[in-house]
């Protein structure tokens, strides 16, 4: 019995270089259009947000992970399952704040920035800001408001790429029934 849909549970192999090129083309076009690094960062964040709100359903549908009980569990799921599933890398979770509401994801290799070098006139550009938007959008759909930003970036001379995530609050409006 043949199936109509492609079984995309095993990820279709695609050339990651095409992905890097596509993302690069996107960022350079945004730079040409807006000519202002801050504005480009904002746009990347917005685009990432739109991706995140859709990606979360795909993630939940494929991984069948239940609701996380606390922020530490969320951090583990993001690093070990989500990043692995979508970017093929597993960042480490470190630098927990004393209150347990802030942590860092350290990525050794960021697939978005293969072969990329930032020129001097774009020193404030956060090249991978799309990732921040994705994380923010995805967590908002599961009722968590978070603040995500890049603390260190290999493109700007640091040794590792560090994403800092801070839990702001639980979103109480429109909670799905049964989750109070």
């Amino acid at each position: 019995m043949s199936r109509q849909s492609n079984r995309t549970t095993d990820s279709k192999k695609m050339n990651s270089e095409l992905f890097t090129l596509t993302y690069g083309a996107l960022v350079t076009q945004l730079c040409k259009d807006y000519e202002n690094d801050e504005e480009v960062n904002k746009q990347l964040d917005k685009m990432g947000y739109n991706i995140g709100v859709r990606l979360i359903e795909d993630f939940l549908a494929r991984s069948s992970i239940g609701r996380c009980q606390d922020f530490r569990e969320t951090a583990d799921v993001i690093a070990k399952v989500a990043f692995k599933m979508y970017l093929g890398c597993t960042p480490s979770v470190t630098n927990w704040s004393p209150a347990g509401d802030e942590f860092s994801l350290i990525l050794e290799n960021n697939p978005l920035v293969d072969f990329v070098e930032l020129p001097d006139n774009h020193s404030t550009l956060v090249y991978s800001n799309l990732l921040c938007g994705v994380l923010r959008g995805a967590l908002e759909m599961v009722q968590m408001a978070v603040d995500v930003r890049f603390a260190q970036d290999t493109l700007r001379g640091d040794n590792v790429t560090e994403i800092r995530m801070k839990f702001i609050k639980r979103i109480e409006e429109n909670l799905p029934a049964g989750d109070e």
């Binding site: 019995m1 199936r3 109509q4 849909s5 995309t8 549970t9 709100v53 859709r54 979360i56 359903e57 795909d58 939940l60 549908a61 494929r62 069948s64 239940g66 609701r67 759909m141 599961v142 429109n174 909670l175 799905p176 029934a177 049964g178 109070e180």
Partner: protein
């Protein structure tokens, strides 16, 4: 073993997708002569049989078409009131089709939002904290299965009570939604789903579930 319908309800309780897989089996078309031996009355914008039962026509059945032309609510296709039309001996002999009236899309919308509220009541009635909402509703004719995602979308499937594997089917529909609706950049979240690929794949998985009886084994 049949799966009757699929409903998808968004976070706010609005129906964003609906698919009916069944054909009402109880429909009867007969030619009548004056006077009509069934008593008809208006009910909810339709004309239904209130008394009189014969040849497969039961009380509660609605007038579906007259002389082969579908009726529009209480009126015939030409706009005349159906009861008046059938009281006029000049219009006989007439061929009328009776059957169980299908739900209109407005009715489905209303029922979906009502279910959304009842779902919440399910978790509020719980004696213990942390109960889910309504997961299954059973009648003697069908079973309703509901799956709510962590993001608040509900997938509802109405199936034959003996049909198994509905849980796996609900998860599969969630996957199809995340693929063909969400990955379509022209589909806006929370809006009615009008994606052909979604329809096709949904129908395909319903067929597989019906045939297998236990969807998910070996997939």
């Amino acid at each position: 073993m049949v799966i009757y319908s699929v409903y998808v309800v968004n976070k706010a309780g609005g129906l964003i997708y609906q698919y009916d897989n069944y054909v009402p089996r109880a429909e009867a078309e007969k030619t009548f002569s004056y006077p009509l031996d069934l008593v008809l009355k208006h009910h909810d914008e339709k004309v239904v049989v209130s008394f009189g039962q014969r040849d497969g026509i039961r009380v509660g059945h609605a007038v579906l078409s007259i002389n082969g032309v579908d009726v529009v609510g209480k009126n015939t296709a030409e706009g005349k009131d159906t009861l008046e039309y059938l009281n006029d001996p000049a219009n006989y002999p007439v061929s009328i089709r009776f059957g169980r009236a299908r739900l209109s899309s407005n009715e489905k919308l209303m029922l979906a939002s009502m279910f959304h509220s009842l779902f919440a009541i399910g978790s509020q009635l719980s004696p213990d904290v942390g109960s889910s909402g309504i997961e299954m509703l059973e009648t003697d004719v069908f079973k309703l299965h509901c799956f709510q995602t962590l993001t608040g979308i509900k997938f509802i499937v109405l199936a034959d009570p003996r049909q198994s594997g509905i849980d796996a089917l609900l998860r599969k529909i969630y996957e199809i939604y995340s693929d063909f609706a969400l990955k379509n950049p022209f589909y806006s979240l929370e809006m009615p789903i009008r994606c052909e690929l979604f329809d096709q794949n949904l129908k395909g998985s319903l067929e597989i579930a019906e045939k297998a009886g236990n969807f998910g084994a070996g997939s």
